[in-house]
Symmetry: C2
């Protein structure tokens, strides 16, 4: 029997807009760097709101907050929801925040209706998802899932030389619960898509089946600086010309593995970068992603082959190394089904999709059944003060989150 519970769209929206003032920017975004004064403020607010609903709030040793609403079965593993309240330096109002505040709206709805789930429900605010202050991103969920040790995380320093451990201490955000001991029956993360597909296709809910595998490469193309006027074409070693052809090749490699592959050069340094000097060295980053690691292997081999094909005829040398990689993640089919069922119950169309970006859920999938719910964001824009999601889509996401949690609770209760 499905309970007839409905979230309050206006309350959700007001909560999004009200809390957006904590670190709010003049351009309508949020600057709420991890463990900053603004982050501390929103954490205090979050704790107060959850406690007002009768939840207990625990904090682990890397600052992650867990608000727990008891269920009927005190022995059952909790069903978890959540995301993150930290933002990029010029971030938007929805990235991460929607997942936490929609979770709060779910708790409020359960509380208002005095509805008691079988399993406990937990709402999580993961520390330092963005990685803007302490790199890498998804730091606390990474420690939780065993991707990094607590000590590795503690030692990371921001640009001012302050370590993560020092910032946790100074902000009063360090808790006492050992990281990663908590267990979940499942974890649902609602998030804006950060891409244009749902908006383009007019679909409200993305049922996220996994996270793409991602590989980042550092490439340096080495030629010879020379005067643009005095060096004839046949005597040139133009590193930017070589880089340009590799940029084109990266695009072609992704197209060759359509529709799921993506490949991009986003970062490039041209040296010496002077109008009348033929570039002698170009450094750039290649980003290749696909849901299937075997396809990524093929794409990587193609990149290496293109470097060896394109650069020697131009008199250029190169170095190519893997900077970072993140394996493809497959989410839990039972939880994905709960999202599909929840969306159907709430009357929304869904589209299966693979997350192109990393999320806390990608790490948590290593230690608990996990999935994500995507809602559209305007123009696919995120990590930007112009980031925008509509009133209706935020409400839809929160309702589907509620429905999915309840569906899973019913299945667990068997």
């Amino acid at each position: 029997m499905r309970p007839n519970l409905t979230i309050d769209p206006q309350r959700l929206w007001d909560t999004l807009m009200d809390t957006a003032r904590i670190g709010g920017t003049s351009k309508g975004g949020i600057r709420r760097l991890t463990l900053s004064e603004e982050d501390r403020q929103v954490r205090d607010w979050f704790r107060t709101q959850c406690e007002a609903l009768g939840c207990t709030v625990a904090t682990d040793e890397v600052g992650t907050m867990f608000a727990r609403r008891e269920g009927r079965d005190p022995q059952a593993l909790p069903i978890a929801m959540g995301s993150h309240l930290d933002t990029q330096p010029t971030g938007g109002k929805f990235d991460g925040v929607l997942g936490v505040l929609a979770g709060l709206e779910v708790l409020r709805t359960l509380h208002d209706m005095d509805y008691r789930t079988q399993a406990p429900i937990e709402l999580i605010n993961w520390t330092n998802e963005e990685g803007s202050r302490f790199s890498p991103a998804m730091l606390a969920s990474g420690v939780f899932a065993g991707a990094f040790t607590r000590e590795e995380a503690y030692a990371i320093r921001d640009r001012d030389g302050i370590s993560f451990a020092e910032a946790l201490e100074a902000s009063g955000c360090r808790g006492t619960e050992p990281v990663g001991e908590r267990r979940f029956a499942g974890f649902f993360e609602l998030h804006i898509e950060q891409g244009p597909i749902l908006e383009k296709e007019g679909v409200t809910i993305g049922a996220v089946t996994g996270v793409q595998g991602m590989r980042w490469y550092d490439v340096t193309v080495i030629g010879q600086d020379a005067h643009t006027g005095a060096t004839p074409m046949y005597l040139r070693k133009n590193a930017l010309l070589g880089a340009a052809r590799i940029i084109d090749a990266v695009d072609a490699i992704a197209h060759a593995h359509a529709p799921d592959a993506v490949g991009t050069v986003g970062y490039l340094e041209n040296r010496p970068n002077s109008r009348n000097v033929i570039p002698g060295e170009v450094f750039f980053g290649v980003d290749l992603r696909h849901r299937d690691e075997a396809v990524l292997d093929v794409m990587q081999a193609a990149l290496e082959a293109e470097l060896a094909r394109i650069l020697p005829p131009l008199g250029l040398e190169w170095r190519c190394s893997t900077l970072w990689s993140s394996p493809a993640v497959a989410f839990d089919p039972r939880l994905i089904d709960c999202v599909r069922e929840g969306a159907a119950a709430a009357g929304y169309a869904t589209r299966d999709m693979v997350s192109g970006a990393g999320h806390d859920a990608a790490y948590i999938a290593r230690v608990a059944p996990t999935t994500m719910i995507f809602v559209p964001c305007a123009g696919g824009i995120s990590h930007n003060e112009a980031e925008s999601a509509s009133f209706d889509d935020c409400a839809a996401g929160a309702q589907v989150l509620l429905e999915a949690v309840l569906a899973y609770d019913r299945k667990l209760a068997g």
Copy 2:
């Protein structure tokens, strides 16, 4: 009758090395910015050396120095030699400096042998050729030739906000002679090639027949920032991909007008330049050069056609404007002949060539018969502390300068 005059190679080399200490850098180059304390020091030294040879030294209102050695005919227009003693911020020991100090070696040789030319001989140190402190380059010769007014030059400010007029005053380098009133029978500028051709071909002397026409364009390619992971290939507007194809097209346009055309993208700004953001805007500078303005017109039309062909299918917009252009310059055939004859007399092979870089001579050609003499520089490298020219090539350049001046003096004398 050709007088048997020979410059002193060791004295020339010692003078090059000794004066290189004025602003000398730890890496063997020179940092002697226009009207800096180092520039003032080398100017004082230059004046002393010229006066010791019986020359009179006049300075014009933009600081250009004219050392004059009288000839037998006080009514004859002088034959001028020279270049510049200012350098790039991390410049080499030869760019500009060789042309002035080889001219000094010519004066010293005439003085030692008590040889009196028919025409007066003048040795010139042009102010602010490099343009590193006060942009644009070739400022004083430009005012001399009427390309800029004196007032325009005076108003130019360095990065510290100091105007050219103020710097002339503060350094004590402003003279009283009105700019551009002086007339020459001809002007010879010896310079390192700043390109690799002479070294590559094993030729010692370049007989420079002119200066390439140069056109600089500003191009902005406009797409849409988006997440590299979450944006499928078919929904992208990747400005760096468009820029890459234009960089390749610029190279192809130059090759299509081989062997004289050159085309380069040397400067590029990628925005926002983040590893996981598809570039939304790329700004770059295109540098096209050819000795023939008509060919440059064709190359420019090809650039515009390639922008219109390549960018729309990628969903990209663009702006393209001409930032700066310098028309092709043809040097004076009589003076070029004197260089060829002088080189033959001194026993050196020559190669006709067109200067790919701008020089004071390019402006002076507007107001006086002018040519240049090139000598090889190692690897074609200049504007760099590693810039290098050999003892023998410096000596050859100075001897050919002497021979060319004497040949022209004989022709003028009829």
